[in-house]
């Protein structure tokens, strides 16, 4: 057992966890945040995707000890005081879910893409979400949601820069 100190969704967190626990186990069973899903539990499905220091990682393949001192964001931390994140809003608007199990991981992976490459093409969106499986196979609306999120992110950037609306 070791004590871990890290930032979880912007707040200081201190949890005790055995050495063999993963980040996913800490998030779900210590912090009680069950948005990150335990799907395959070996890196195939992406349902457990969270951000560590701003990059999406598979929390089922990350030892909890490795997040000591780092910043972790789960789906519960994606929205903020202004409301839903643009990615969440677009998934909602597009109806980009069926059973919903893959959705938290999908949105965390999509968030990184929208931040890093709002100009992403459909092919680049597919590549960015390659690690995330939707067993309902509802990919079309998921891709549409991410395209819309990219479009709104670009618009946001243009407006901030004072450019054409």
């Amino acid at each position: 057992m070791r004590i871990l100190h890290f930032q979880l969704n912007g707040d200081d967190a201190e949890v005790a966890a055995p050495d063999h626990w993963t980040l996913l186990e800490v998030v779900r069973y210590r912090a009680g945040l069950t948005g990150s899903k335990q799907g395959c539990d070996k890196g195939d499905c992406g349902a457990c995707t969270v951000h560590v220091d701003g990059r999406s990682v598979l929390s089922c393949l990350t030892l909890a000890a490795d997040i000591d001192g780092r910043q972790v964001t789960t789906i519960e931390g994606l929205s903020n005081v202004d409301g839903l994140d643009v990615v969440q809003d677009c998934f909602d608007g597009a109806g980009a879910l069926q059973c919903g199990f893959c959705q938290p991981g999908m949105m965390m992976a999509a968030r990184q893409l929208v931040t890093e490459n709002p100009e992403a093409t459909r092919e680049e969106i597919k590549e960015a979400l390659a690690s995330n499986l939707c067993r309902c196979t509802g990919y079309t609306k998921i891709y549409q949601a991410v395209e819309e999120a990219c479009r709104r992110q670009r618009q946001c950037t243009t407006e901030r820069a004072g450019g054409a609306p």
Binding site: D19, H20, D41, S56, L63, A109, L113, E127, A130, S131
Partner: protein
């Protein structure tokens, strides 16, 4: 996952001192990015008493361009940072393209150079916890007579795994070497000599790395002026996957003639598979249809497909052809 004691040494030598002196992996295993190891731990393929976490060693994630233009990659350099490094993209396309095609964004964010080179095979008989195959101390390689669609067509026997690394063929093509550190000191070995064929004592392991050795860094030498290079990976599906077959090619040309070549195949043999005799067929010739045919036939001349993987022969010939045409045009 079974319980283990996680240790985080602060030096490479300290890490090596925590490793077992025999090949008994029940004692200790090395953790870098963990993208392969955690799967092995969860499946019970390794059940160590302690896991030695390299992330406590400062500087192991550094990528250094030396004064002579060569490149040193620490074992913990992530695949993402390698794929994005501007000079790698410009000067060693084969390496950047290989790194870009490993796994998925999540895996590349965390997966490392050292881990990618030392990952264990994907053969389903090896990965199945209930199967005691030859690699796991059993008496038979089940792939030889069983389901072997993904297994080796070159260099197989008595086991038929393929090495799953994308970086390894690219780094062998670039003439890279690895620095190994143990309590006995350090040694530098060419990556082309790092991997072991099953027939050369490579049954339960894939590399010459001793149980108490740590791969600390990889050194990529300066390449001769004018190199063009590419890595082409063929996957069974559009989404992320290991290679069914892949080709790392470095080519030097002058006045339409090839003056040098390095051709290494991935996904078809238990090691990155260098095709030296094919390279010789390129030198002094234009990359025309006739030369390409001779080169691809020579590269696969020794292929001995199993019952379900003969498709890898024409597939690999096609990939080599594509790589040559891409670089020569």
């Amino acid at each position: 996952m079974n319980t283990f004691d996680l240790q985080k040494p602060t030096s490479i030598e300290g890490a090596a001192a925590l490793l077992p002196t025999s090949s008994d992996s029940r004692q200790a295993v090395l953790l870098a990015g963990g993208q392969d190891l955690l799967g092995e731990l969860k499946d019970g393929l390794v059940e160590p008493e302690r896991v030695v976490n390299l992330k406590g060693v400062a500087g192991l994630d550094a990528m250094n361009w030396e004064a002579d233009g060569s490149l040193t990659l620490g074992a913990l350099v992530t695949l993402q940072s390698l794929a994005e490094e501007p000079r790698v993209l410009e000067e060693m396309a084969v390496l950047a393209e290989a790194a870009q095609q490993v796994g998925s964004p999540q895996i590349r964010s965390v997966g490392t150079v050292g881990g990618n080179l030392n990952q264990r095979p994907r053969c389903w008989y090896y990965r199945n916890a209930d199967s005691v195959c030859l690699k796991k101390g059993g008496t038979h390689c089940f792939a030889q007579l069983g389901e072997n669609k993904y297994n080796a067509i070159l260099g197989g026997g008595p086991t038929y795994i393929v090495h799953p690394s994308d970086l390894a063929p690219a780094l062998v093509a670039l003439g890279a070497s690895a620095v190994l550190v143990s309590p006995r000191g350090r040694r530098t070995v060419l990556l082309s000599e790092y991997y072991l064929l099953p027939a050369d004592d490579g049954i339960t392991r894939e590399t010459i790395r001793e149980p108490d050795e740590v791969l600390a860094s990889v050194h990529v030498p300066v390449q001769r002026q004018g190199m063009r290079s590419t890595y082409i990976k063929f996957r069974e599906r559009g989404s992320y996957d290991w290679a069914l077959s892949s080709v790392a090619l470095c080519l030097w040309m002058s006045d339409g003639m090839t003056t040098g070549a390095r051709l290494v195949l991935g996904g078809v043999a238990p090691t990155p598979w260098r095709c030296e005799s094919s390279e010789l067929l390129l030198v002094g010739h234009a990359v025309d249809e006739q030369t390409i045919r001779r080169v691809v036939d020579e590269a696969l001349r020794q292929a001995e497909p199993l019952s379900d993987n003969a498709y890898k022969v024409p597939l690999t010939k096609g990939l080599v052809t594509r790589a040559l045409q891409t670089l020569a045009s």
